[in-house]
């Protein structure tokens, strides 16, 4: 009898990104705006600290929760960045990327049938992570007319007595949306009213372009710390995607539960990556400021470029993705993305890979060489003009 795959895995649909990836790989000389990571190698002082640790022979396991020195540094960083205090001994868990922390959080919290609210368009792993943990993913739409902010009325429409968890991601992959503070307060009140636990993935929070120092985490709002799992990591701000290093901060009993899974599934995050992360925190954030400045320039370039090409594009408050509206062309996201790839060798990810509400949009990463962005915009402009019934430059009314 052939090997039987578990039902829970069989029911996970094929990733929309994965298919697109295969097609792009098959072509030469594509300008890819389909990336989800910085275009910088990790700053040298961080790499150098990692190399030095290997030279010194630091190659063993660490404690399950992570190196104590790193947890202390994380606690200090979270205090200044998020204005919330966590005890490094018992309220911080160092994970293999935020991806693992998210998985741990789901598995630690969800009983079969528990519903989890999450906003779409969103990162590709949220829905499957919830489902794999036995939960029921319930998507809540966000719209271009709100710059993809999460509105309380949409949450209220989706909550049921079975809702246990609310998952947030601001700034958002793929929309670049940030949640206005007044909306965040309403969401906090909503979570308290319905006694929900909040998982907040804030991986892009240093990459906010206007007043980054004013970022507010829901964990810092009154009544929230005891019911929030704050997830953050090093991949985006410090360009450490390949190091696979993230962390969760939460009250002790939640961390303890996550630790129970982590200790068996992973044992600990790689020691080399932990050492690198410690250097990232201790080495100061000049490198982050420099990278953020450069992303900021490119953000402006790409957003203006899309608007000029007749594809309405809001200015994303954070992350490094532009999310232009391709509906004026009358094509679906997939049709547009494929057509663009075939006609002009530019790759952008179709928005429906990120959920139903992503249909009609395109995710374009501006963490890409500036000259390539310019060239890509030229080609996109050409492609849009070539389509029948080319849109007027005024753009259509955004929904």
């Amino acid at each position: 009898m052939p090997v039987q795959i578990a039902d829970s895995v069989k029911s996970i649909p094929r990733s929309g990104i994965r298919d697109f990836f295969e097609i792009v790989l098959g072509r030469d000389d594509v300008i890819s705006l389909g990336v989800g990571e910085p275009d910088y190698a990790t700053p040298w002082h961080i790499r150098e600290a990692a190399i030095f640790s290997l030279e010194k022979g630091m190659t063993s396991y660490t404690s399950n929760l992570g190196l104590e020195s790193l947890r202390k540094a994380i606690s200090g960083y979270v205090e200044s960045q998020f204005r919330t205090t966590y005890d490094p001994k018992s309220e911080v868990l160092v994970s293999v990327g935020v991806s693992e922390a998210l998985d741990l959080a789901c598995r630690a919290l969800l009983n079969p049938g528990d519903e989890v609210l999450y906003h779409e368009p969103c990162y590709v792993s949220y829905n499957p992570s919830i489902a794999l943990a036995g939960g029921v993913p319930v998507s809540v739409p966000t719209y271009a007319r709100d710059a993809f902010a999460l509105k309380i009325e949409n949450l209220e429409a989706a909550v049921t007595p079975k809702t246990k968890v609310l998952m947030l991601n601001f700034p958002t992959n793929p929309t670049g949306a940030i949640e206005p503070p007044e909306e965040l307060e309403k969401i906090a009140a909503f979570a308290i009213k319905h006694d929900l636990t909040v998982i907040t993935d804030e991986i892009y929070c240093e990459l906010i372009y206007e007043n980054p120092q004013d970022h507010v985490s829901i964990a810092s709002l009154p009544g929230m710390r005891e019911r929030t799992i704050l997830l953050h990591g090093f991949s985006k701000a410090f360009a450490m995607t390949g190091f696979r290093l993230g962390y969760a901060c939460a009250p002790e009993m939640i961390i303890e539960a996550m630790m129970k899974i982590h200790q068996y599934a992973m044992l600990c995050a790689p020691i080399t990556s932990q050492v690198a992360a410690l250097e990232a925190l201790e080495g100061g954030n000049d490198c982050v400021v420099e990278m953020r400045k450069s992303y900021g320039h490119r953000r402006r370039l790409i957003v203006d470029g899309f608007n000029q090409a007749g594809l309405p594009c809001h200015t994303p408050g954070g992350a490094f993705y532009a999310f232009p509206d391709i509906r004026p062309t009358g094509l679906s996201s997939k049709e547009f993305a494929m057509g663009l790839l075939e006609a002009e060798d530019v790759a952008c990810v179709p928005g429906d890979a990120f959920g139903e509400t992503g249909e009609g949009f395109l995710r374009c990463c501006y963490a890409t060489d500036i000259n390539l962005i310019r060239e890509a915009l030229e080609r996109i402009g050409r492609y849009v003009t070539s389509l029948e019934g080319a849109p007027e430059l005024q753009g259509s009314a955004a929904v």
Partner: protein, 161 residues
């Protein structure tokens, strides 16, 4: 005081036009051009040049870093002498330094002998120069923020979530 974003951009790449800088910063092109003119006028921007790796460019000149000790003057400290030295054509750069010597003077010449001649005839002989120590440049690893030997560009997967 934060550095002017226009200065920061030009420091990284002086070939960017006001139009390109305007597209990156959201400023008006005319405002950028006016600001650049202002910066040039005031001497905040001294000039523009390509940053060269002499070995790769096949340059036939020789460069030396010379540590110079001076006698400070009553009115004006080191300024008068330092300017007098800086004005020589052969002097590429001239800085006042803290520590064991006063000026570092970067000098360019056709040959080792040429540089040595400049030091012995023009530099050491100046009234107020008490000593010089000449170090010849051999190889450039990094110049003004640009690595001379490129790490190969890291390749990313073309599509990732």
């Amino acid at each position: 005081m934060a550095t002017d974003p226009i200065v920061e951009l030009l420091e990284k790449n002086a070939r960017q036009s006001p139009a390109e800088i305007a597209a990156l910063t959201g400023l008006e092109e005319a405002a950028v051009a006016a600001r650049v003119a202002e910066l040039e006028e005031s001497g905040a921007i001294l000039g523009y040049h390509a940053i060269i790796d002499p070995e790769r460019a096949g340059a036939d000149h020789v460069t030396a870093f010379i540590e110079v000790k001076l006698v400070p003057e009553r009115d004006g400290g080191f300024d008068r002498l330092a300017l007098r030295i800086a004005k020589f054509e052969q002097v590429r750069s001239c800085y006042l330094m803290s520590g064991g010597y006063d000026l570092v003077v970067i000098v360019s010449g056709h040959s080792l002998q040429d540089v040595a001649k400049f030091v012995s005839e023009k530099l050491s002989t100046l009234d107020g120069v008490t000593s010089t120590a000449t170090h010849f440049h051999l190889k450039t690893y990094k110049q003004d923020g640009f690595l001379a030997h490129h790490e190969s560009e890291p390749t990313r997967l073309p599509v990732s979530p």
